[in-house]
Amino acid sequence: MIWPLSSLLYSIAHAGGTFMPPDGDTIAPLYDHLYTFMVIIATIASLLVIGGMVYFCIKYRRQPGKNSAYITHNTTLEFLWSFIPFCLFMVAFGWGWYVYYQMRTMPENAFEVNVLAQQWSWNFLYKSGKKTTSDMYVPVNTPVRLIMTSKDVIHSFYVPAFRQKQDVVPGRYTQTWFLAPHVGNFPIFCAEYCGMGHSAMLGTVHVLSKADFDKWLETNPYKGLTPVQIGQNLFQVKCSVCHNPTTQRKVGPGLQHVFGSMVQLQGQPPHLADENYVRTHILQPSTYTVQGFPKGVMPSFQGQLSEEEVLGLIAYIKSLK
């Protein structure tokens, strides 16, 4: 009874726009049905209360010679307006449970991606040994299961198009899944406040056709690139949340003209910005704090960068003259 009705209303509402992002996975239509149903029920309930209020206010406004009635209660009425909302709430609860059950039942034999969150980037690790940052590549029409943990504080993996969200908690693994039926690119947000770069902790899910995905798996991203180009690419995805390639400061200092200069440090004598200095700053950032910047903000990239990548970054920073 409710299902076909809501389906009808859903299509009407969809034509006008439910303001939901486009459907990116198989959960989204299930979710949108429930959402539309709830919006309609909520609208009707609000209109009843607010409409009743406005009507009574006009009809029973103070008029000379008219007194108010003395009505203390009406048991039948009070029972009805407790019981009917209760039933509606139970429908919402039951339907919500049903959809939630789909959302939380992890598919068997899924394509697995490990997600490592850190302030303020998403790192994706594939079983093939490939690693990406910010961009996740998955095959179309394949269930994908994400196994997630955080290096530092709580983050939340949120893809609006998939209607899925799961907090990423340090010290343990949490999981979520999706099955994307169409090829496309969908934004990833961090939905749990994680500090300075919270709103910049963005990413993209690239849903690729099977052929494109296999091709992507085989490509070496650094093939034919010079170390400076490797560094530049990495800088865009890993560093640019906090550092500008100019002299302008962001969360951290701007990195132009830094290489080869004497850097003023907090509580330490000035240090020459040579290869070793840059390397230490990337892998053990707590060793130095540059004058005028808060301590302990920069996360360590130890274990996340290959030697080739660290060399590339050093070469790139060297080139920022």
Partner: protein, 119 residues
């Protein structure tokens, strides 16, 4: 809970002398010795002291003895046994909501699905 309070209130209102119950010293002395005996008992059944081992019940036994001791202090030393029922209701309300907090936290932690990394 609220009804209890209301009922206790209706009962206690007006008869102002109900609070002045004087417990005889002999009762206090008996309770003192009972408490000391229970302390000895809880030490005696503790594994690090006597080697007595009831497995997972060790903590439970220790906790039960502590609860008996606490109810003696509450009932006699603190006079809850002779006091207005409202005060008793307040005490149990506190304990009840503490249990609610504990049980829901335990419910969450012991029903979590444990996920392992696949790498």
């Amino acid at each position: 809970m609220a009804q209890n309070k209301v009922a206790a209130e209706a009962h206690g209102h007006g008869d102002g002398h109900a609070g002045h119950h004087i417990v005889p010293m002999s009762t206090y002395v008996k309770v003192l010795f009972a408490l000391l005996a229970l302390t000895a008992l809880t030490v005696a059944v503790a594994r690090p002291v006597s080697g007595f081992d009831a497995g997972i019940f060790n903590t439970l036994i220790a906790f039960l003895i502590a609860a008996v001791k606490a109810s003696l202090v509450l009932g006699i030393f603190m006079g809850l046994k002779y006091d207005k029922k409202l005060n008793l209701a307040i005490f149990f309300t506190g304990v009840f909501f503490l249990l609610v907090m504990l049980l829901f936290c335990l419910l969450d932690i012991y029903t979590r699905v444990h996920v392992q990394s696949t790498l």
